[in-house]
Subunit: 152 residues, 2 copies
DNA sequence: CATCGACGCCGAAGAATATTCTCGAACTAC
DNA sequence: GTAGTTCGAGAATATTCTTCGGCGTCGATG
């Protein structure tokens, strides 16, 4: 388990805000030479602290004007069905995120659709028609915002 | 409203997978010269299709071993309270994401905590003690995974 | 207290990349 | 046709990345 010092945390904070920042600027921001900074970032990647770098897109720009959260309740909670339905949900092109939960709801799936018709077809074809699924409940997402993880 | 051609979509797909890919490699992958590729990416940024580049971190590495979804139901649905509580929730250091929803639940907040005690204190101090909040329901997150947006 | 080794940082240099600029081809509209 | 527009290629320059050797610090050890 890696121990993170003050500089590591500063790097993580900066890279969360802008993953495309140049190594030179990153180094200057934390007060290191570029070479030392690069070694730190490489180490954080190798240790699995940084799991990837992702561009964030505006769903609207892709014609996905409607977002929803679909709460899924399963019929059987045997392990195999649990995994297979999880994989299925994650593999849907409309899926933005999948939560596997404890409690009454087994999965919560964040999806992005073009319109209500698209959402309707999606819920039927990819959710309720699956034999493992007992019941779903769909909620409209009015707004969605992601935050950086606190690194302090 | 920008119209995205096949090359734009390829670029978006690649940048979603790895935001730190070099412009040269990006250009080669879509069959453009680096200069043309860079112009495309700049345009996608300027048009707001790409909203940012983020490093993804493993919460575990930061000592955040416990994730939860907190469903929030408000007492009053007057506009001002709605915005202020939303800003409050988004500003919490434990917050990973905030959904503003239609339906019985007004907000759904994804939080990352160190342990159950941290979560307990968080729910009391930052949720139930707020006057706008009528009721909350906390669900444990067993696993969480994010997907790329479909760009086709 | 001297020595050793490990660790982390710095700085320099060559390699690779980003960025800018200009040019030309393809297309459109008149 | 011709002017205007868009978009990509290529070259030249500026910037950055990446590696490598060396240095200082720190702790352990004899």
């Amino acid at each position: 388990m890696p121990t993170l010092d003050r500089i590591d945390r500063a790097l993580l904070g900066l890279l969360q805000k802008d993953a495309r920042i140049s190594n030179k600027e990153l180094a200057a921001s934390v007060g290191l030479a570029p070479s030392s900074c690069l070694a730190r970032v490489r180490r954080l990647e190798a240790e699995g602290v940084i799991t990837g770098y992702r561009a964030e897109l505006a769903p609207r720009s892709l014609g996905l004007d409607l977002q929803a959260l679909i709460a899924v309740q399963l019929r059987l909670h045997v392990g195999e069905a649990f995994n297979s339905i999880g994989d299925h949900l994650r593999s849907l092109p409309e899926t933005v995120a999948v939560y596997c939960l404890g409690g009454a709801t087994d999965f919560l799936v964040h999806v992005a659709c073009r319109d209500t018709e698209h959402l309707r077809v999606l819920t039927i074809r990819s959710f309720t028609s699956r034999p493992e699924v007992s019941r779903i409940e769909t909620s409209l997402v009015f707004s969605f915002s992601r935050s950086s993880l606190a690194v302090e």
